[in-house]
């Protein structure tokens, strides 16, 4: 019985994966991934990892994928243009090679446990209680670090995606970014060296540019 379930879940996962990489519309790819994730959760259950399976469904398929859906809806991304490079053919080839190699590595290895069904079952294996105990005793430090990581990611995402000036359109924002003189010691070398040229090429600074070119900064150095 469990073998049948295994095969259904495995084939579902593989199909979902193939769907992710082949479907043209990114939205469909996201949905394929969701299917893949749920099949994977089933596989986890078969491996007696209850908490991980639940986390997979709730966090991964539930939250992360929803985020993906939002972004795909915002960004869009339609049909991909055809045409490409040699990687269109080489890519799958590399991947096949990788797969073969990994299988050989795993199955040809001397690990004896591979051919077994696993260690004898201990009551409570994979339950939230055991995982929680581990998190709060042996793996306390990674637990805390992981939360810090989440904080960093959240802050980073907010910073990356925010608007700068609030009310101006993006066009003006871009232009100002090019024209307004940089403070000293910022920018690339080319800009620092060529700021003078850009400054002199730009017309009178607009009224909005509050950072008026300071008369003493001639070259940025």
């Amino acid at each position: 019985m469990s073998a049948v379930l295994f095969f259904i879940a495995a084939i579902g996962a593989l199909t979902g994966a193939i769907g992710v990489i082949t479907l043209r519309n990114p939205f469909y790819s996201v949905l394929a991934l969701v299917v893949h994730l749920i099949c994977l959760a089933v596989l986890f259950l078969l491996l007696r990892a209850e908490f991980v399976a639940a986390a997979q469904v709730v966090v991964y398929a539930g939250a992360v994928m929803v985020l993906y859906v939002f972004v795909v809806a915002y960004v869009g991304g339609g049909e991909e243009l055809a045409g490409g490079t040699a990687l269109r053919i080489l890519g799958p080839l590399f991947a096949i090679g990788l797969a073969v190699e990994l299988c050989i590595a795993m199955l040809g290895s001397a690990l004896k446990g591979i051919s077994s069904k696993g260690a004898p079952y201990v009551l409570g294996f994979g339950t939230p209680r055991h995982i929680g105990t581990l998190f709060l005793t042996k793996y306390l430090f990674p637990f805390e670090v992981a939360s810090l990581l989440l904080l960093a990611a959240a802050v980073g995402a907010v910073v990356l995606a925010r608007r700068r000036r609030g009310l101006e359109s993006e066009d003006e924002e871009l232009e100002l970014r090019i024209r307004a003189p940089r403070p000293v010691y910022t920018g690339t070398m080319a800009e620092a060296a060529g700021t003078r040229a850009i400054e002199s090429a730009a017309p009178e600074p607009e009224a909005e540019a509050e950072e008026a070119p300071e008369p003493t900064h001639t070259g940025g150095w």
Partner: protein, 99 residues
């Protein structure tokens, strides 16, 4: 099923994810393929945890999930920023960081 089967599935999913990263041009889809690879790793971890009988692998898998979530967040933030700047959402066009 023997643990080896799960590991084979994991390897296959990993390879499929790698193929996707190498072939697709939409950064969103590339991120999705990265997720695939991470999930494959998760599966392997949980399988080994079952083999050894300790939950350490599962804890590791949970942390991997946290990391994946963070990475997705930041990656999607990047893509949103790209979109805001009216830049093409195509990794082949975004190649100015070159030598």
């Amino acid at each position: 099923m023997a643990i080896g089967w799960y590991l084979t599935v994991s390897a296959l999913i990993f390879a499929i994810g790698a193929a996707g990263v190498l072939t697709r041009r939409n950064p969103l889809v590339i991120l999705l393929c990265l997720e695939l690879m991470l999930n494959a790793a998760n599966l392997a971890l949980v399988a080994f945890s079952r083999m050894w009988g300790g939950e350490d692998g599962q804890v590791f898998a949970l942390i991997v999930m946290v990391v994946a979530a963070c990475e997705v967040t930041v990656g999607l933030g990047l893509i949103v920023a790209l979109y805001r700047r009216r830049l093409p959402i195509d990794v082949d066009e975004l190649n100015e960081l070159h030598g």
